[in-house]
Symmetry: C2
Subunit: 225 residues, 2 copies
């Protein structure tokens, strides 16, 4: 406020990302949120593994990072509280899980009520839990995809914000299918985050209503092999 | 054989359809199989309710019908055996369930091994059982659809042949969504039946491989509202 040349930060939502792995979804979110006019900014990236590739990606983008280790806490509650503390220290308003392999417990859910998003590599409620893509491949479905949802106390059970579908081709390996779904994840997660931070989501029962911008829709289908 | 002018019937697969309700899928199958060059012909339609609309549709298309009532049989096995008997009397090779509301038991599965198809109004394995469309609507998914699968002893658990996806629009009622899925059902069921009777399906574990005709695919997506 005292610097008239500064970007009007108060209008940009502060987002924290939690990851356990390489963080390709983090990369997609960084790209989207650093674009001109983005309503969100990633202000911190946390991981539960010091070697998570996501931390390197964050550092490369000059985003602060933190690590919270399960073994440093007597129970899940303590671990969750440590996450909250770190996110609050960075004044985070919204949290995006990007391949974060720990269940989110009450301390996090209470600190960020209906403000934690997750992406899952399956058309939920089909194939929740680990390896959604592999589950879909082995089940022999013809249409697979990914889902962005609000996080609740269950495993991949929260209200659905956006979904993207892709075909399963007959020659597909699990790896091919995973890559095709991943491309779709990189499309739908930034869109869902944008709608969320713009205050466009309302949840009734478990259904999410989105006050969508003109010409946008919360579903995608990409038939590209 | 003795009549050189007769259509070469032995090359046309004999299909029996079982239904409990109005039979709009039956109508789609009749339309597809009466088209010139169809590799399948519906030779009989059976129902477990004398007033099933499907029976009227069949009669209108001059297809023989039968009714097997649960109450005429002491147990499920007896009911299933009566179905087999009727279908065999018409030399049926393939069976299509079209809104048939009874579980298929061992006598039917043994009589028509991997030769019974069903259509379910959801992207299985999501929302099996009754009212797949309503389940999807209430769950708040963004992408719904339908599945043609080979019937096994479970409820909507058999190997998947074809799937078609449709979007769920935010203003949708359950009825709207049901109609959109139904249109897709009428596309994918005839295609799946055609591949089946042409001997194009092979099942490995629970995955179905289709020796697809050039330019065809076992998945569909129709974004039309």
């Amino acid at each position: 406020m005292s610097d008239p040349g500064a970007r009007s930060l108060p209008e940009v939502a502060r987002v924290g990302v939690l990851a356990s792995g390489g963080g390709t979804n983090l990369a997609a979110l960084i790209e989207a949120t650093t674009a001109q006019g983005s309503p969100a900014r990633i202000v911190v990236v946390g991981a539960d593994r010091p070697r998570a590739g996501a931390l390197q990606r964050a550092r490369a983008a000059q985003i602060p990072t933190f690590v919270v280790l399960k073994r440093d806490h007597p129970d899940r509650r303590g671990f969750d509280r440590a996450l909250v503390e770190q996110l609050r220290a960075h004044h985070v308003e919204w949290v995006c899980l990007a391949g974060f392999m720990k269940r989110i417990g009450p301390p996090m859910l209470d600190a960020f009520p209906s403000r934690i998003l997750n992406i899952h590599p399956a058309l939920l409620p089909a194939f929740p839990g680990l390896d959604g893509q592999g589950q879909a491949h082995r089940h022999g479905v013809r249409i697979a995809g990914c889902t962005v949802h609000l996080v609740d106390a269950g495993t991949d059970t929260g209200p659905i914000v956006a979904q993207g579908a892709v075909p399963v081709l007959q020659g597909d390996t699990e790896h091919n299918l995973q890559q095709r779904i991943l491309r779709m994840e990189h499309t739908i997660y930034p869109a869902a985050l944008r709608w969320a931070v713009e205050g466009r989501l309302t949840v009734e029962d478990r259904r999410v209503h989105i006050d969508l911008p003109e010409g946008e829709a919360p579903w995608w289908f990409d038939p590209t092999p």
